[in-house]
């Protein structure tokens, strides 16, 4: 096992990590300032708004958000308190529950989206040309697919 990275790769890695962190921080701040939502709130709203019946099982939602189950429980409870989503027991499975988008939630999303998308463009997308977009998509789509399978939230053996 080779235990190092070439200089080029180390540089790439560090640039990626640091810039991503800064970007996330910035987007979070922008979103909070313009709409009072967190990124997590926003992502939940987006996923629900796109789902059939504007509702999703907790587990499905957690998987897509890359959230632990308990984190999602907390997140949804919080949004429920604020009236952005409702919680309903799942008809097909007595154990489960679904998060359902409320009218207020949809409205909040509609109000927040323009600002947020503007922010994403401003801080990232406007600075990238088409070739860069293509690379970004290629690299991270592949990465996401590869990471999706092998476990992580739970500990594998190794």
């Amino acid at each position: 096992m080779t235990e190092s990275l070439s200089n080029d790769r180390l540089t790439a890695w560090r640039a990626y990590i640091e810039a991503s962190q800064r970007l996330l921080t910035r987007l979070e701040d922008d979103l909070r300032d313009t709409s009072g939502l967190s990124l997590a709130d926003y992502h939940v709203l987006v996923l629900l708004s796109e789902a059939p019946g504007q509702r999703l099982r907790m587990g499905e939602l957690a998987g897509r958000l890359v959230f632990s189950p308990s984190r999602l429980t907390y997140q949804i409870s919080s949004m429920q308190r604020r009236g952005l989503v409702a919680r309903q027991p799942c008809p097909q499975d007595g154990r489960g529950s679904e998060a359902v988008l409320t009218a207020a939630g949809l409205l909040a999303l509609r109000e927040a989206a323009p600002h947020h998308l503007h922010s994403v463009r401003m801080h990232l997308m406007d600075d990238l040309d088409d070739a860069e977009i293509a690379f970004l998509t290629r690299i991270f789509t592949r990465l996401g697919q590869r990471l999706h399978g092998t476990a992580s939230p739970a500990h594998s053996d190794r």
Copy 2:
């Protein structure tokens, strides 16, 4: 103000966000399993080990880690409890303090690094060709520089 993203860009954005989240989670788990360190611990150790005198001002460290001041205070206190770093008052500035790498901290880094780097290669780098590395570096170096200036931790007006 155009308030949307082209489909291509939206796809790129979502792939990037989700895969990055999965990657971070995976690396964190791997690192924790093999060395008992968090990513934050590891980054602190790396930065200190590279700094002249293996010491850095709190503010400098916070800036590079993209941590809030209070978060860094907590982080360093935790590492101090575990013997990985020490805290010293700053000679030039009576207000400040420095975090200093300890022998144990350096050892912990040396032990953790091979596993962590292997993990980074495994999950990300080995899957990228040289052209992709170049794009990654280019995109995120530019992004990092651009985001570095304009404020975020504190709220600007807008």
